[in-house]
Symmetry: C2
Subunit: 351 residues, 2 copies
């Protein structure tokens, strides 16, 4: 029952058949996007949130600021190449970078489970500190809550981040044009596979480590290098395919990618085959895609080559005006296929 | 094993006897403060965090900004007078207010439990929207994660907030002086009792409702009214006593309070007696204490009288130079007692 001026939300039709939250809603796929649209974006329909970027861009007293948040529920808490705490720094730093901001400050909210080892907590907090130092950010405010023992998750972390925007590049799906070139900064699939291998107790000849790392410096190098960056997106839940679909749909363009140009390490590819995953859909935590003006593609590649935050930069495709919202792939043997977003996520609790 | 430049944390002695997190660590009492000091403040020892305020004050491109975060794990999710979502707005808005900032923007991170009713989620999100509108803030960025069914908590929420500082008042424990006057904006104990009564299935003649509400406008009224505000603190976990002890210790002053001047409603007092709680220790979610210059005490009371965010403003005590760090109470019958911070919290999961 609503009175004038009193905001309420009615249950949208698409959820009539799924009246409860499922794991799919957390997967970075269509179920999650529908939930965000139908529940959160409907409720908070302000222009800033409607930008549908990872980070909001706000102006305060003339300062141009980016503001973002992410919660981290990854299991296990420690994995090859990282842990939940450094991930909580990298993920939020990278969301700020996707808005073209220079990350400055983080908040850290800890939800601790009764029974969590304090020694483990100390280890994680020290890891968060090292990651923050390496990213050039400071954790300046925080909170601690405790919940009763349940499920043995140990802890959840939320970080919010503030960054400053120091350029005039208009970055967002709205800036994407047919003809734009798509680049990524490195090989795909490491994070999701590292997590899954740890959970499944799989051992490979060499442990596959998460690529959890900041990408902010690489992004800022592109911007300072004069590259006309139109859109940025990190390749987390749902992998490259999820990010590419988000951009294609929001920008109203088609994105065409070439499989031979998309770097995937042999061991990661082998593990994907073993586990039944497609590396293009697997989560990464140190990878982003950039959609740049065609004229600047070569320069963008130059900037990224040799950059420590770009292990294997590559031009992997382009935007075009056909079939807006669709992502297609030219396979190694020249066949064409559509890369649809999955409804759920292949791997739950990876970030 | 640490290499030069690599930050690690050793387990501090006080935790040798309690190697795991307990519910007490979440209580707002001494156990929580020790955890924050020994784990979090040691790790992130930068000047901003060391201010030990709820919100950090940062400067970006000349803009003076307050930044804070809180996680919300209250059970039940809906209670008389509020719910976890509006609480998540009020709590973070009020932390910004405690830094003397005008709240502007919030982020909202949702951790949803598998099985959570989407209808309930819609209700909570609409409540968050109404609360944000009433507080004059916008939720501009967010995140959604899903965890497997466990314990039936339903969801946890984290909000981070950004506010702007538009005055030159230096607010913090360091500004507190002997002779300063202590005020509060209303009667105590409603929130904790509302939660506990709901959990215990207690029914009173009239339901005791949480005082969950913003206090930012009341604080800004004090500042704009020219009151020399030295320190502010909201009276959440651990109640008035916890906040008073935090200020007394950080400021190095004694605080002396008078029981007859501290408003507590009869029904709340009765419920406290029934449940075995001291209202001075019970959590509030729409109450703050202000420590102001003695000369401005009367003006402060004038400003608050009649203010919608100050149901029962009262001068309740003063700061003095004796026994620094100690909080004392003159009881109704004139006896003196020390109000020590409890080690845990009387009521878990109240915010």
């Amino acid at each position: 029952m609503s009175t004038p001026g009193e905001f309420t939300l009615s249950c949208p039709m698409p959820h009539a058949s799924s009246p409860v939250i499922t794991m799919a809603h957390g997967g970075g796929g269509t179920a999650m996007h529908r939930l965000i649209e139908d529940v959160f974006l409907r409720a908070f329909d302000n222009p800033l949130l409607a930008q549908r970027h990872d980070a909001a861009r706000i102006a305060i007293d003339g300062a141009r600021i980016a503001f973002t948040t992410d919660s981290y529920v990854v299991q296990p808490l420690e994995f090859p190449g990282g842990d939940i705490a450094s991930l909580a720094v990298h993920g939020t730093v990278n969301d700020l970078a996707m808005a073209g901001a220079r990350p400055l400050y983080l908040s850290a909210g800890f939800i601790l489970e009764e029974g969590l080892s304090i020694e483990l907590l100390l280890r994680l907090v020290a890891s968060m500190r090292r990651a923050a130092d390496a990213c050039g950010v400071q954790v300046v405010t925080g909170d601690t809550k405790v919940i009763e023992r349940r499920g043995g998750d140990g802890l959840f972390i939320n970080t919010a981040g503030i960054g400053v925007i120091e350029h005039d590049c208009v970055i967002g799906p709205g800036a994407v044009r047919p003809g734009d070139v798509v680049l990524i900064n490195g090989d795909l699939g490491r994070h999701g596979i590292a997590i899954m291998a740890t959970r499944e107790g799989l051992e490979f000849e060499t442990a596959i480590e998460s690529d959890s790392a900041p990408v902010a410096d690489a992004v800022l190098a592109l911007l300072r290098g004069g590259v006309e960056v139109h859109c940025l997106r990190d390749l987390t839940r749902g992998g490259l395919v999820s990010a590419a679909n988000e951009i294609a749909q929001a920008a109203g363009v088609g994105l065409h990618l070439r499989e031979t140009d998309i770097p995937v390490r042999d061991d990661v590819r082998g593990a994907c085959e073993l586990l039944g995953f497609d590396p293009l859909y697997v989560a990464n935590e140190g990878r982003f895609m950039a959609v740049v003006a065609a004229d600047d593609a070569a320069r963008a590649l130059d900037v990224l080559r040799g950059h420590p935050q770009a292990p294997q930069p590559a031009i992997i495709g382009h935007a075009h005006a056909d079939a807006p919202g669709r992502v297609t792939l030219e396979s190694r043997i020249g066949a064409q296929r559509i890369l649809d977003m999955l409804s759920g996520e292949q791997l739950p609790r990876i970030c």
